[in-house]
Each structure stands twice: as structure tokens, then as C-alpha cells.
């Protein structure tokens, strides 16, 4: 789907408004939109909303062998996905420049800053370490993806609990959440990205640009900082030339914003912790309806299934009995079965010689019943029940004569009917080709 382009008058309007220090949504130049953090039912799942921009984050873990050049460290894996539902311009499977840039920024912000202690993820040096995987999905794009994604990432990492592990010599025991409480990751500090958009060659500056503002901006400056005023990552893109004191001013603004956001994150984590401890209900099913007026929820509803059996029997009695048209499967050799016979070859006299040969071979083949057959007829009768009115005729395969060669290996006998039909198709295609080769001699 194509993204709608920004019209020239919209562009001019936005730039003029910025020159007069006005923003479309009424914010001041240094104002952030509302940040809302909600948690899911599992540990490590959260949704962060920055205005209308929404990002879903999920952390999961797995035991893997470590990287050969770092045998005592765990592995961190980050993946940001721009879901096609975020904006009409995002198509699935297309590695756009934006996606690469965002992924790289997230990696630098969270991995290179060493906010997660990877040494603590090691279980047996050189053999088993934890791989922590962070998946970020962008659900709605209204500007400033990087800030929302970085907040979601760090919140999810702080929220996540990995299974407890004990090592005795060479034996590793991983405890399930029921046996022992899962353990949080050890996080040193919380880096948060703050974005600045520049207009008119750096004259005007806006914090937290929305989507239209991003489209008309000249350049973007992203600073990732933690609450101890340490800069973790700084990146300037768009080719604007920034003066030193501009950058210093931005970093001061970042420090203020990061302090506010970190406080919000801590509060959200504490609230969630409290709710879980008190045994209250948590998860999106609970949080989303409370926040939105348009959300609706019903409690568990009991369904009256008393007369279900009688109703079902009525239906079976009224339905036509499964038609007898479909043939029993014929077993040619172990692992090869056929349902139905082929219809007449409509290609003309080309295949006459092959037809004779086929007739000979088919005469030699015996039909035998095997355990597959019962399952298959049950399947077919179930299928005919679903479409009560039309009996399924399975014998009209559009294949031509079947010539069976000895299979190289014996595949398993437990195949359903669709599988054996498909297998037949491929085997028949294969056989036909072999036949043609033979005719060429």
C-alpha cells in the first residue's frame, strides 16, 4: 500500500507554524506527549504509548551455547519490527532504511551501553548461557518511534523474570515458575532516548516530533541518556550542521526529560509489582478496558449445553448418510497408496504405448487394508458431515495412469488422506518423467 504524500501547503503551514513557535497539537517546543505504560499478563511484556505512537515489547529467554569469542557472557538479541498496521506505507518483508536505522539505534542504546549485565547470564562458561531476546513491534506510527521503542525496551527488560537455575558440578537444573520464583535480570542503569527535530538549518528545535513534523524536518538528533546524566548514545542524522552549544543545550534538556521518564517507569513497575503480589488480575485484558471508554468487556458467560447431544443426534439423523462413492484406499506397496482411479487420458494417442504398460502393471498390484485406512475413512466421513448436503466424491482425481515404482525408502504409514493424495501427485509426476525417459531409449 502506498503512503499518502504530504502536500505542499501542509508543509508550508507546518513550517510557518514552527517559525511562530506553535505546534499542531498545542504543545510547547520542549514538551513531551503523554507517556503511558501498561503491562501484559506474562513477565517481560509491555505496551508503551507516546501520544498515539504505540510499541509492544516482549522479552523471552532461551538456553544456548555462548559465542566462541565470549564464553562467559550471555547473548542479547534485539529485533524491532514495523508492523504493517502501524502505517499504510509499511509493507511486510521490506527492509527499509528506516527499519535498519531504528534497529541499529536500539542496539547501540541497549547493548553498547551495557545496561544489562551479561556476565550474570552465564550458567556454565563456554557451554550454556541465557540468550535474552527482545522483540519490539510498532503498532501505530505517529512520530518518534525511537523514543517509544527505547522506553518499551528498557521497561520490558526491567519487568522480565527469567527461570531460576542451579548448577551442581556439571548438572544444570532449570526450575519452572511453580517450583521457584523467577529471577529478574540485573540491570545497571536505564538508558532512554530523546529525539530532537531541527528545522530551517538548525534554527528551530522541537522535542518529540509527531509524524507530520518528522516529515518536514531537516535533521534529527537522538541522545540516549540515563538518570545519572551519562550519555549512552548520541546520533545526528539528516546532514544538518549543529553548533556546539546547541548540542549542549539539547543534552541539558535530555537530562530533565530522562529524569521525568525514569520516574514514571519506576512508578509503573512498582504498581504492577503491587498488583501481582496482591493477586489482583493483571494483563491487557484488565488494563485496556479501564483506560478506554470505547473498550468493552463481559465476564465469563455460561452457555447452556444441555440439549446439545439431542440436537447433534437430530442433525446426524437428518443428514444424508455419507455416500459410498469414495473408494477405499488401495495399498500398492508399503508407503504408497491410491484413492480413486484415474480418468481416461485426454491427451490423445501420444500415450498409447504407456497405457498398455500401465494396464499390465496395475493388474499385478494387490489391494490390502492397513491401519491408515480406518483413520482415513473416519476423516472422510467427518468431512462429509460438515457439508451436510453435498456428499464428497473423492474418486475424480485428475491424474492419469498410475505407474508405481519401488520406493527407495519406506516412509511412515501414518499419513492422512490429503497427504497421500499429494504424495501420489508428486510420485506420479516423478513417474511420468521416468516413463518418458524410458520411451526415449
Amino acid at each position: 500500500m502506498k503512503a499518502t504524500p504530504l502536500s505542499n501547503c501542509e508543509r508550508r503551514f507546518l513550517l510557518r507554524a514552527i517559525e511562530e513557535r506553535k505546534r499542531l497539537d498545542g504543545r510547547q517546543c520542549y514538551d513531551y506527549r503523554n507517556v503511558r505504560i501498561s503491562f501484559g499478563a506474562d513477565y517481560g511484556c509491555c505496551i508503551v504509548e507516546l501520544g498515539k505512537t504505540r510499541v509492544l515489547a516482549q522479552v523471552s529467554c532461551e538456553l544456548v551455547p555462548p559465542k566462541p569469542n565470549r564464553p562467559t557472557e550471555g547473548i542479547l538479541f534485539f529485533n524491532l519490527e514495523l508492523s504493517p498496521m502501524a502505517a499504510p506505507g509499511f509493507e511486510p518483508g521490506r527492509q527499509s532504511e528506516l527499519l535498519v536505522k531504528l534497529n541499529r539505534l536500539i542496539e547501540r542504546c541497549l547493548r553498547n551501553s551495557k545496561c544489562v549485565d551479561t556476565e550474570s547470564l552465564c550458567i556454565i562458561a563456554g557451554e550454556k548461557v541465557w540468550q535474552i531476546r527482545l522483540d519490539l513491534h510498532l503498532l501505530n506510527h505517529d512520530g518518534n518511534i525511537i523514543d517509544a521503542a527505547s522506553i518499551a525496551g528498557i521497561v520490558a527488560l526491567c519487568h522480565f523474570r527469567r527461570p531460576d537455575v542451579s548448577v551442581q558440578g556439571e548438572e544444570v537444573t532449570v526450575y519452572t515458575p511453580e517450583e521457584r520464583d523467577p529471577v529478574p535480570l540485573s540491570i545497571h542503569h536505564m538508558p532512554v532516548c530523546v529525539s530532537f527535530a531541527f528545522f530551517q538549518q538548525g534554527t528551530y528545535l522541537l522535542v518529540d516530533p509527531s509524524e507530520c513534523e518528522e516529515r518536514v524536518m531537516d535533521g534529527l538528533l537522538v541522545i540516549a541518556m540515563n538518570k545519572h546524566r551519562e550519555i549512552c548514545t548520541i546520533q545526528s542524522s539528516g546532514g544538518i550542521m549543529l553548533v556546539k552549544d546547541q548540542v549542549l543545550r539539547c543534552s541539558k534538556i535530555t537530562a530533565v526529560k530522562v529524569a521525568e521518564i525514569t520516574e514514571l517507569i519506576q512508578k509503573a513497575l512498582e504498581n504492577d509489582q503491587k498488583v501481582r503480589k496482591e493477586g489482583g488480575k493483571f494483563g491487557f485484558a484488565e488494563s485496556i478496558p479501564n483506560q478506554k471508554i470505547t473498550a468493552f468487556k463481559i465476564e465469563r458467560a455460561a452457555i447452556d449445553t444441555n440439549n446439545v447431544e439431542e440436537q447433534a443426534e437430530e442433525i446426524i439423523a437428518k443428514a444424508d448418510p455419507p455416500s459410498e462413492v469414495f473408494a477405499k484406499p488401495i495399498l500398492h506397496t508399503p508407503g504408497t497408496a491410491q484413492i480413486g482411479e484415474g480418468i481416461e487420458n485426454s491427451w490423445g494417442d501420444l500415450e498409447e504405448s504407456e497405457r498398455e504398460e500401465a494396464a499390465e502393471e496395475e493388474g499385478e498390484i494387490e489391494a490390502a487394508a492397513f491401519e491408515c485406512q480406518k483413520m482415513e475413512t473416519e476423516d472422510t466421513s467427518t468431512m462429509s458431515e460438515t457439508k451436510k448436503d453435498e456428499p464428497i466424491v473423492l474418486s475424480d482425481s485428475e491424474e492419469e495412469e498410475v505407474i508405481i515404482l519401488e520406493p527407495q525408502e519406506v516412509p511412515k504409514k501414518t499419513r492422512t488422506q490429503t497427504n497421500s493424495k499429494q504424495e501420489n501427485t508428486s510420485k506420479k509426476a516423478f513417474n511420468k518423467r521416468r516413463k518418458k525417459k524410458r520411451a526415449a531409449y
Partner: protein, 191 residues
């Protein structure tokens, strides 16, 4: 829209009918595309098979001939999975279609039934109930005459049991359609 039975949550987003790239264009109807994104990892085979089931169900219901040579894209993101995921996706898809205002011939809803080893029917099973069940059946039921739009099963069950599950699913569909009605009414009365 984001229906969540129990703790299973699916978010649906719909774009369309909109312009479509040349190869995907159908001359007489809208081309419907469904994308299902799991929470962790890249979409695999099971997501693609579910996408096909959803697509065929939606195509049966959407009046695509009113919008030829366009594309309708439906994106489903799994927010959390605690059982009955396919039924939740079906419900999300239908509410998404409804909310977007696409022309539909009827609504549909998804119901999952699990048959536990004793033969008792459990509607809307949790993950644990699904794992312990002998068979798990999912039906898409339409709103006009409670007919079956899509049926998929995992495991083995007898014909009678399947009919019983189907009848139970048809009963459950009534509750779900009432829920659709109430939530749509609520949405348009407040905004």
C-alpha cells in the same frame, strides 16, 4: 479492535480498500491479505496456515465485488496468548472489518471447543486445557443463519462428538454476537 477472551489478546488493524500493486490486482474483486504476527520471533508456518484460514473466512463474508482492483490488508498482532488463539483472531478480524465499515454479507465469530479425555466439551479452553485435550476444534460461525464458515480440528474425535461441539459452538456464537452488538453500540454512543 482488540478482543480478549480471558487473557488472550489480539490487536487487529485494517487498511483498505486501497490501491494495490500490479501483480496482486484482481480485476473483479478486492484482494484480501491477512498478516498474523506472533509476539516472539518471526512468523512461521503455523502463522501462515492460520492466515490462510482467516483469509478464506473473510473472503466468504466481505463483498469484494463492490471494490474491484483494490487491496484490503488486515494485520493481526498477538498481544498475549493464553489459549483459543485462532478463535480470538477470528473475532478480532470480524470486529476490525465491522469497525472499518467494509461491506459484509454477514458477521462471523470464532469459537474453540476442546474435548477432554472424558468426552466433556470445554468452550474457550485455556492453554493447559488445550494441551490435555483429546481434540481441539475451532469453528467460524456466521451471524445470518449460524452456519459454519470454517472448521479446523486438531486431534481425533468421533462424528457425534464433532456435531455436539458444533451445536455448542452455535450456542456460544449467540453470546458473542450480542457482545459485538453491545460494544459497537457503546462505541458509537460515546464518540
Amino acid at each position: 479492535s482488540s478482543p480478549s477472551p480471558g487473557d488472550t489478546s489480539v490487536l487487529a488493524g485494517l487498511y483498505g480498500p486501497a490501491e494495490v500493486k500490479g501483480s496482486k490486482e484482481l480485476p473483479d474483486r478486492a484482494a484480501l491479505e491477512v498478516l498474523l504476527r506472533p509476539k516472539v520471533g518471526l512468523p512461521g508456518v503455523i502463522e501462515h496456515s492460520r492466515e490462510q484460514l482467516l483469509r478464506q473466512t473473510c473472503e466468504a463474508v466481505v463483498l469484494g465485488t463492490l471494490h474491484p482492483r483494490t487491496a484490503i490488508t488486515l494485520v493481526l498482532q498477538v498481544l498475549s496468548d493464553a489459549g483459543s488463539l485462532l478463535a480470538c483472531c477470528l473475532n478480532a478480524a470480524c470486529m476490525g472489518l465491522l469497525d472499518a465499515g467494509l461491506p459484509l454479507s454477514s458477521l462471523f465469530c470464532g469459537v474453540t471447543c476442546a474435548l477432554d479425555p472424558n468426552g466433556a466439551i470445554v468452550l474457550d479452553p485455556t492453554t493447559r486445557q488445550e494441551q490435555e485435550a483429546r481434540a481441539v476444534l475451532t469453528f467460524a460461525i456466521d451471524s445470518a443463519e449460524r452456519k459454519v464458515l470454517m472448521a479446523t480440528t486438531k486431534g481425533s474425535c468421533s462424528v457425534e462428538e464433532m456435531q455436539q461441539c458444533l451445536a455448542a459452538a452455535q450456542r456460544a456464537a449467540d453470546t458473542i454476537f450480542q457482545f459485538y452488538r453491545d460494544s459497537v453500540r457503546r462505541r458509537y454512543s460515546k464518540s
